[in-house]
Symmetry: C2
């Protein structure tokens, strides 16, 4: 029964795409009209599309990327401040800037290693002799790694501490991994070593602590990230895109998103902050990431010295807007985070460069008076994403009602390019058609006779009863990038785009330099896309998606309809997703309220609340658990009915 409901709501949701675009064609442009009527019909002229595409300049994008990645720009560092000013300068440009650009500041709680007292991992003999000391910095292969601003590999939000104990290998640090280990070993007083993957970063420590584990190490396994390659003499960077043996993936080790001291409140200077000891979802025991070079030599007694400290810091979003001509109170928001762990050439500067080129081209047409969109476009260059999606989350908290009521769609581009094989797109079902249409209009990079759509179909597809064989569009179920608050807290239709690699050619879990000191301009230009030409396609795709927002459906029935009727239909579709929000649905999950797209512990992609409750009840057989499953069905059913009612005129 649920399946029918799901399919029904997926089908219904597809109508949303139609609705987003109705406004454009709703007005009969030929009618004799009151003075304001031409204004209503004013919109993107089709001839502008070609202008836009011609104006995209690969050299510009390359220049942006080079400038953005000159120095490390970790959130709130001097390098980050330089990128804020760089964005502001471009968005305020007289000839190619936006209508308005400004900086939005938050005071956020971040965690750093102590430069004067670096974190340490050592192997000690029983007589306290140090047998081995793990690297404190990654090996240098050029000036980028030599930059003193490269932050030591560390686990943000790990508590400080200096535990020592026997090392045990705990696979991926999942609950089942520790449960299994615990059957044969006394884990009390041990230090666990885990590979990345399988469980969230913080979870590797959170799962370990109940067994008495005193510290955790985490490393990137060459099988997971390097297709097994391990030698930097000829196999890894700088010889290929693979991670060198000393490379370490940094990351934020927290399960909740947004600023940890101001849950549900924007982190302004005067905002109330919860006591630090009340923070939830961070490691209860010290944890430290290391390279596989060190992971492979660690034996016996390991001493872990973590000196992380936390600090309130000023973090900035840079915001820009192009005001809509006809419906300025409807927003399409395009976001990308700006901060990186080190130089962040791929994550996130590839996306930032694309955004800068998009705004340059749109801004030029705007300043020339040749174009203005029907709806407002808001650009967000988010700060402190790497520490937990902080900039975008605080923004949604601050403007909660306005954004909820008016935002038509949120488009996220974080890492624009992992590689250049194929498009990777995720989004709500309602935007699938929009994405497909856009993908059909753009040629695949390096494949002049193949569209992005056809190329994508070749790499990743699925067969659906309604649509036949179509490319596979991913879900936005987790909190992997800045779409999280938009999807899970505000219920706004969202999309996330990148170009990615050929999964038949590499099994890498993610591009190998991810969150390391090797994610540099040099790395990106040598191994990701030597000519940066394919970036044009990413830009084209965004252009196409954004302009398509007013295009796809030409409903002749609506051509003579009054603007308020068109708006009504659009609003029905825009707000349908909001009906899936239920603040009571997931009391135990911070910031998750969307009953379809929240993350699921049982790994079920949809209806997470019910899926988890059902899995639990099936396994325990307890009456109370079955009651909880019933409760979740009721929550779900009320939400689906509420959404259906947004699409209906009556109330019965």
């Amino acid at each position: 029964m649920l399946k029918t409901v799901l399919i029904g709501s997926l089908g219904g949701a597809a109508v949303l795409t139609v609705g987003i675009l109705l406004g454009h064609y709703a007005i009969d442009k030929g009618s004799p009209a009151p003075s304001w009527l031409p204004d209503v019909s004013r919109d993107l002229d089709e001839s502008m599309l070609q202008d836009f595409m011609d104006a995209v300049d690969n050299k510009k994008i390359e220049g942006f990327l080079r400038d953005l990645t000159k120095v490390p720009h970790m959130a709130t560092s001097a390098g980050d401040e330089a990128t804020v000013e760089y964005m502001m300068q471009h968005w305020n440009d007289q000839e190619s800037g936006l209508d308005q650009a400004w900086r939005q500041n938050y005071v956020v709680y971040l965690s750093f290693p102590d430069p004067k007292k670096p974190n340490k991992v050592t192997v000690v003999a029983p007589n306290t002799t140090v047998l081995h000391t793990a690297r404190e910095r990654e090996k240098s292969y050029g000036p980028d790694q030599d930059d003193p601003e490269v932050v030591q590999p560390y686990a943000a939000y790990s508590p400080a501490g200096t535990p020592q104990g026997k090392l045990v290998y705990a696979n991926q640090g999942k609950p089942s991994d520790y449960m299994l280990l615990n059957k044969t070993l006394d884990l009390r007083g041990t230090i666990a070593i885990c590979r990345y993957g399988g469980a969230g970063r913080a979870e590797k420590a959170i799962n370990a602590a109940p067994y008495g584990v005193v510290g955790v190490l985490v490393y990137s396994d060459p099988l997971d990230i390097n297709d097994g390659l391990m030698s930097d003499s000829n196999e890894t960077y700088p010889h290929s895109w693979y991670m060198p043996p000393s490379g370490v993936e940094r990351g934020s080790f927290n399960t909740d998103y947004g600023d940890l001291l101001t849950p549900y409140l924007a982190a302004k200077e005067s905002t109330y902050r919860i006591p630090v000891e009340n923070i939830t979802g961070i490691p209860p025991i010290p944890i430290q990431p290391i390279g596989f070079e060190d992971a492979y030599v660690l034996i016996s007694d390991v001493k872990l010295e973590v000196f992380n400290f936390a600090k309130l810091k000023n973090s900035s979003n840079v915001m820009g807007i192009i005001r809509g001509s006809v419906e300025p109170d409807r927003y399409v928001i395009y976001g990308n985070h700006r901060d990186s762990w080190v130089h962040g050439a791929i994550d996130p500067s590839s996306g930032t460069s694309v955004m800068l080129e998009v705004t340059r081209v749109l801004g030029r047409l705007l300043k020339q008076g040749r174009w203005r969109p029907r709806r407002s476009i808001i650009f967000g260059s988010w700060g402190a994403e790497e520490f937990g999606l902080i900039g975008s989350t605080e923004y949604t908290e601050q403007y909660y009602t306005k954004l909820s009521e008016r935002t038509v769609a949120y488009i996220n581009v974080d890492i624009a390019v992992f590689a250049n094989a194929t498009l990777r797109a995720s989004g709500m079902p309602s935007v699938q058609n929009l994405i497909f249409t856009a993908a059909k209009q753009v040629k695949a990079p390096g494949l002049e006779s193949t569209s992005v759509y056809d190329n994508w179909l070749r790499y990743s597809n699925r067969t659906s009863p309604a649509y036949g064989t179509v490319p596979r569009v991913g879900y936005l179920t987790g909190a992997g990038s800045d779409y999280a608050a938009f999807v899970h807290y505000l219920g706004i239709t969202a999309m996330d785009f990148s170009y990615t690699y050929d999964r038949t050619k590499t099994k890498a879990r993610i591009y190998p330099a991810y969150h390391t000191a090797y994610d540099t301009f040099d790395y990106a230009s040598r191994y990701i896309d030597p000519a940066i030409v394919f970036l044009k396609s990413a830009v084209d795709l965004f252009r196409s998606a954004a302009t398509q927002l007013d295009q796809i459906i030409k409903s002749s029935d609506l051509a003579n309809e009054i603007p308020l009727k068109v708006r009504r239909i659009n609003d029905q579709l825009m707000l349908m997703d909001r009906a899936f929000l239920d603040p009571q649905a997931f009391p135990e999950k911070y910031g998750f309220r969307h009953v379809i797209w929240a993350s699921s512990s049982s790994g079920n992609a949809t209806f997470p609340g019910f899926a988890d409750a059902f899995a639990r009840a099936s396994s325990s057989g307890l009456e109370g658990d079955w009651f909880r499953a019933h409760h979740q069905i009721s929550i779900l059913s009320q939400a689906i009915n509420g959404a259906a009612h947004m699409l209906m005129d009556g109330f019965q």
Copy 2:
């Protein structure tokens, strides 16, 4: 500083009234136009107003009241079902019905006395001799009280139980009352007797239980309700409107509103229900209301026998709609509950009769094709209000998103007339001007040369810096009638109207027959308004308020504006109040989310979260309490900023 903010947002909120009405005058009717333009301008013709007023028929209203109060119609009883059918028949009438009318069913958890085993209060001597037995039914003065369907006076949701103990007088049963008593008496094992008022019904028992009190009696004190009069030989009903000595105020004894088994979910048949033992906010010990006749003779050991039982029952809302011509997706909702405790002539049938006359007159114009409103008007005849606002609350839960996004205003008329001295109006500040303008257009009942406004000003006024001396408009801070879910859970602008008595002539806390078997057609027609003529004014007032929704402001600037711009301004104003909702603001208060209008424990009428936290911190001086006050300031400040942003175009 907060005061400036408050005044600012009150002032800003006043603009809302303007906005609600912009649509009507936004279109230049003289323009040459596309085919749909005349439709946009179609609205209530001014000449209709006079037709409407002329059509109101006092005899009809009297007839409705007589029919509705023929038999007791407690929620879900046979009498209630008869009123459902009566409403349906009128709203489906071919000549004066609405566009559509239907019944909306919920399965709700109600509590009743056992007809076969009535609740008892007795005074027993140490040797178990019964010295006095309190009345089980109110004394009869006519056939209405003889009706076997008159429910025994009882406390709905009181647990069953037969406690016995020494009687102690606990004033109003407030926390401070029990605290004071406890200083001189051991309350363990006692039965407390309290008068109505000062604390909520359920609270009198909830406050008592921690001291070991085993049962509670509650009565209406003649000083509170009867201006001290007590004798039914010449002072009380049937000689006057005062409560006879045996009269008992019934009521629901619960602090949370809506169906108690389905919090935040509509109580459909299949909905998950929490276990009965998890219900919060109901009396933990037996409680029973009695008449002052018995209250005054109780002494020494009292035995209380309560045999209440709870049951799932089918309760119906009757819903009707007149669809809007131009903006059918904007709703004005007009609600009144239908169920009573006994015959309920004043509470609520006076309001139901007014509603039936309003719909008859509007429906006739509609069926004749002479009129259709610009926006849709939804009529709600709510069920089971007396048990905790259940019908209206379940309705808002079921259609949560649709109602949130589209409802312009909720107008509540519960008891239309307490008496005929003056108007009593409560509402958000944003509708103050709307109410004033409407009140100026209607003559006061029985005072042909005085407007309702001028008469009101004479009875109740205040002086404000912005408006000079104006009538006093009350707040909707509690959960006293069906506006609660609309205001506190959905954040919809609401108003509540009644005619009330002259406070200089009586100190009665409420009309004396409230919730007794004496609230009958006989009582209403003899002591409230012998000729029922003033009801016409109540009807006129509603008519005026409803039509004023499209009238007050004629902004010439907007006359040539495009419909979408007008809609934008209207939406800004309509949605401003939603920005004051914060699901995290009052974790301990069920269904309260509006940071300005929630009820306050410290008795402060606005900013309840902060006011309560501040009062607590000031009294305790504890650092943790000051932190909580700071937290509340942050919640409030984010909400106020969010609301201000709804009124602004930019984001900075």
